[in-house]
Subunit: 408 residues, 2 copies
């Protein structure tokens, strides 16, 4: 995090301690940098887990293993390596992950499959096993640290640490949630270069936790995009230690299930928004709301077509209410649309209604809105009741600067 | 064309006159600029026509009408307006096109449906009918001009005029082809902000010409991308005046059909490459070749996923042989892939084979290749026999500069 913080950065919030969760960070030295880059989170016995992963056809070994591990529903530790994604590294990559799992399992006394590993950074360089081994050794002996330290340690091109928290009343018991996330580039629908972790002391059945996370993912992480690129490593894991003492939540019929689900969704939405706020080069946070589409899924795809359009994103960077480019992006989405029923607005002001520019159109309020940091784009398709909201950032010179020489 | 020419620009070639084709350009004044912006091409009686158009769901009236007009197969005139796309302008847009068709039809004595109109530029502002009317009037009286003048007059953000020519022997008769094209941004698969026109003095049956153009389009215009955005107005039209005197080509069984088809494909490929060479902000021309895919279509989609990836394009701009980002783009394409059979190269040098970096990898030849202007990316999927080649350019600060303040 040596970079200048994004102008859209948010201060790191006060997050609750989560009973049953111990966070440690150390400098393993995956890159030649002076910062912690290995995070070890120890979880108490009985912790349940759920996860969602990248849909990349070239996923990393960490993701392949993680997909298998969440099936069992139990977790005792999480290791996050920053600076090396260990993706596209063949059998050597897989061996490196398995070695970390075995080492941590021995260190804390659990089964190997209860140790989750994530790695983020450069693709194609095998994770150096000696550095990982020494790092894990040091982490097992390290003093516990804060959420903010962990949020910093899991970052790569992030310009600020990202966290979000919430609480809920579950059957008369207060439960706490805390989450951290990393990601700024290579963010796209269907998961992204995003590593996100949510921890709660609530007791939650792992099958129910997985079903909650699947639904929430579709409305949060899968509705953000920075550049349309999808990483090989994206992972969001939710861990529930059960230390709060509530009766296990196993369905929406259980007391407090709705409150817990709402709190989890709030944390996930906040974390997703923070990733967009750290979008590489971002100067504006953009919310695209699509209504009147043929279905909710169709609305989401139209929204993402707009949110991924370089022409829309550069126009907003230039503070230009260029709704014509929004029309272009609606048209290319491949979804049902009727040009002559389409309406486009910015900041709550219509620029075009029913397929035509508004007569004697006063552009002043739109221009004023475009000068702010939080932009909204409204699209009314006029053909159905489907709706969705997606989030992105603008496309600026900063994106080029960050990505044209990241590796070197 | 006040902009600095793209570093990838090519000099305008010597193009043949095409018997039966008369080109005129005038300054109608669609924008406040000092240049010709209305092109009128008059075509001799008996000219046949074929066309391919944008797949945008919000296509302009010009495209809607053009799709109907090519059904008849005959053409007598083409009008191209530059500076105003007349798209998303409702019934007023359609009336403006129909007025131009009527005016030209009366001026040269033909049916209205034989007059093809294209418009390019800003979306959402109705084409000013008085300016168009005066412009067409002036064009009907103007002196004939050159292909290069027309190539300049149809441009908008283009930084250099684009043309290509070829000739072929058809049953002992030499036929000539000349083409011009405009387009630099909003270029994407399935057509783009591209207006392309090919003229030949060959006699070609319009149904056969259409089938040729469909196939060629799939291998040329549909295989280029600058930013993944698709315009509301894209159009490629091929006109055959029949003045060369060859026997009409109506199928591949006819003499010279192969030679004519090859010449037409060469012109279309050259024109498509010129659009990429004028990609907004481009500093490198990139050819992506995909082999070993499950099918040719799958190979093309993988190629376009790579060619559209901002992370790949910024890496190449930074002269970084970052093949890990190519892996990422293969993974996100949603096509069949096996990470452990995937090989990636640049400039004919493999960087990774069978899912792993090459041992003791000498990056020098790749780095040297990345410093040149013409970059090749090779991807071997290792799972089938499908192959495709697509073309794009890198993503630089220039793209942001051009698009963040185009309209104002």
């Amino acid at each position: 995090m040596d970079l200048t913080p994004s102008p859209l950065a948010r201060p790191f919030p006060a997050l609750p301690d989560i009973a049953g969760v111990t966070v440690r960070t150390v400098r393993a030295g995956y890159k030649d940098w002076r910062r912690a880059d290995l995070t070890l989170v120890e979880l108490s016995k009985g912790t349940t887990v759920a996860g969602v992963f990248t849909q990349s056809a070239c996923a990393s070994s960490e993701v392949e293993l993680g997909r298998e591990q969440v099936q069992s529903g139990s977790a005792r530790a999480l290791v996050v390596n920053a600076g090396n994604a260990n993706a596209f590294t063949g059998y050597r990559g897989r061996e490196a992950v398995e070695a970390i799992m075995a080492q941590v399992a021995e260190g804390i006394g659990c089964d190997r499959h209860e140790v989750f590993v994530s790695s983020t950074g450069v693709i194609g360089v095998p994770l150096p096993m000696d550095i990982a081994r020494a790092g894990v050794d040091a982490a097992l002996d390290a003093e516990p640290t804060s959420w903010e330290s962990a949020a910093k340690a899991i970052g790569t091109t992030d310009t600020f640490p990202k966290g979000a928290g919430a609480s809920a009343m579950v059957g008369g018991v207060r439960v706490e949630l805390a989450g951290i996330i990393k990601g700024s580039g290579m963010i796209a629908p269907d998961m992204a270069t995003m590593l996100g972790y949510i921890f709660t002391d609530a007791a939650v059945d792992p099958v129910f936790l997985q079903s909650l996370l699947n639904g929430i993912n579709a409305r949060t992480y899968s509705c953000i995009t920075v550049d349309g690129d999808t990483s090989t490593s994206d992972t969001v894991l939710a861990f529930a230690t059960g230390q709060a003492g509530n009766a296990v939540i196993a369905s929406f019929d259980d007391p407090g299930a709705d409150a817990f689900a709402a709190a989890l969704e709030q944390v996930c939405r906040d974390l997703a928004h923070l990733v967009v706020r750290d979008g590489e080069g971002a100067s504006k946070f953009i919310e695209v709301s699509v209504s009147g589409a043929s279905s909710n899924d169709s609305a989401r795809r139209v929204g993402l077509s707009i949110a991924n359009s370089p022409l829309v994103k550069t126009a907003i960077a230039g503070e230009d209410a260029n709704w014509g480019r929004v029309v272009m992006a609606v048209g290319k989405a491949g979804e049902p649309a009727d040009r002559d029923k389409l309406s486009i607005g910015f900041g709550g002001h219509w620029a075009a209604r029913d397929g035509q520019p508004i007569e004697d159109f006063d552009e002043t309020p739109l221009t004023e809105h475009l000068k702010t940091q939080d932009i909204t784009v409204e699209v009314e398709m006029g053909i159905g009741t489907g709706r969705a909201t997606v989030w992105t950032c603008d496309l600026t010179h900063g994106y080029i600067e960050i990505n044209a020489d990241y590796r070197s």
